[in-house]
Each structure stands twice: as C-alpha cells, then as structure tokens.
C-alpha cells in the first residue's frame, strides 16, 4: 500500500491546524481589541 495517504494526513492536519489556529487567534485578538479593558468596569472612572 502507498504511504502517501499517511503523508497527506500528516501534513494536512499539521499545516491545516496551524493555519486554523492562526486564524482563530487573529479572531480572538480582534474581539479582545474591540471590547477593550473598560467595557466591564463602568464605575472605574467615577
């Protein structure tokens, strides 16, 4: 049997996972930047 299915699965999951994690991280970062540190502390500046 050819080893290529294992090679494709190995590279596919690792490189695909890397790209997916980078994209999700970018999304989490964008959400954190949007919400900002002061959103949940309305009384802080009073």
């Amino acid at each position: 049997m050819s080893d290529w299915p294992f090679v494709v699965a190995g590279y596919g999951v690792i490189l695909g996972g890397l790209a997916l994690y980078a994209a999700l991280l970018q999304r989490r970062l964008a959400a954190a930047r949007r919400s900002g540190p002061d959103e949940s502390s309305p009384l802080e500046d009073e």
Binding site: M1, S2, D3, W4, F6, V7, A9, G10, Y11, V13, I14, L15, G17, L18, Y21, A22, L25, Q26, R28, L29, A32, R33, S35, G36, P37, D38, E39, S40, S41, P42, L43, E44, E46
Partner: protein
Amino acid sequence: MKARILGIAALVSVVAAAIVGLVIVPADLNQGDAQRIMYVHVGSAWVAYLSFGVTALAGLLWLWRRDPRFDALALAGAEIGVIFTAFAIWGGMMWGKPVWGVYWQWEDPRLTTTALLLVLYVGYLLLRRLTDDPTRRATRAAVVGLVAAIDIPIVHFSVVWWRGLHQTATIGSPDRILNPAAPLVFVLALVSMTLAMSLAWAYLMVRRYELARLEWAREESARRGRIVAARTPATAREVAR
C-alpha cells in the same frame, strides 16, 4: 506591522519548506515516502519543547518579579506548546503506522512521556480557569508550569534511557537517516522545515502574548470596577446611574 511581516514570512517559509519536503526531496531508501512526515513531526516537537521552556522560564520570572507580562508569556507558551505537541503526536502516528505497523504503543517511553507532556499542559490551561484572581492564578500556573517542565528532558532523553519503538536522535546519531554524512538535501529539508516552524511559532507567540495582555488588562479593570462598586454606598451608585 512587524508582526504582520513576521506572519507573512512564516507563511511563505512553511509553504516553501512543505514543497521541499513533499516534492523536491527524494523518498528515503528504507522508509519510502512515509519518511517525509519526519520534517513536520520533528519541527513540531522542537517548537513544543521551545514553548514549554518559555512557559517554565516565564513562570519563574513571574514568581520572582510579579510582572503580568511574564504570566502572559507563560500562558502563550503553554497554549501554543499544547497545539504543537498535538501536531508532533499526530505526525508521529502517521509516520509510525506505515513504518512500525502501529499508530501507537503505550510501552514506548517516548510516546508515553510525550502524551504525559500534553496532559500536563492541558492541565495547566485548565488550572488557569479555576480562579478569577489574576495574581493567584498566575502563581499557581507558574508552579505547575515549572513542575511540568521536568517532563521535557525526560521526553527528550527517553530514547536514550529506555528501549522502545521510537528511534534515537534524528541528527548526530551515525546510524540514523540524518547524520553528518547524509545527503545534504535531507538535512536541508529538515532544517528548513524546523526554521519555518520556528518562524510560525514566533508569530503565534507574539499574537497570543498580545491577546493575553489584553485579557489581563480587561480582567484587572473589571476587578477594580467590582472593588469600587463594593466600596461605593448604594445611594452614590444610584446617582452614578
């Protein structure tokens, strides 16, 4: 902007290294095409070690200096380390099946200690969710991160200390696929993928660290807000509304 440039450089490097490993390098004489998985497997394992090393060092610095930046760095290392350890295990399984005939063997010290490493750092991440107090959480996590780091040298030297299915060190060992006398193209493929993975790691670390700093600032802000609210008399709060 610098992080974006780093991200683009990492993307180009990983794609180029994958082309080298999949297309340009010839199949190994003994292991055939399955050996190509080694390039991503070793690269992932190297980056996982690096991540957990950063977590341990940053944890130590947190315990010493109590600077939130060190806790953010420790968290970034742990999360990214877990991802790359999972990649290394997956790559090893995909390489193991055609070469060893099995995906996994619990009797193998390298495989088992690597699985333990993954569990330890998943535990580290779960532990961080147990308390809302950022200082207490950082201290607990730093201690766990330091204790878990003991497993890193155990994983690395497990192939030397005990016998199992896993081969010994890929580079430097004279009877291995890659040694100083190996064809340069194999060595270049491994080095290029390891460097590309390291670039990707650096980019992810920068981004995850930035996110951890934002999360810390937000939590601290919310916590201070709760303290102010608790100390403000009810009538003053009514006026504030």
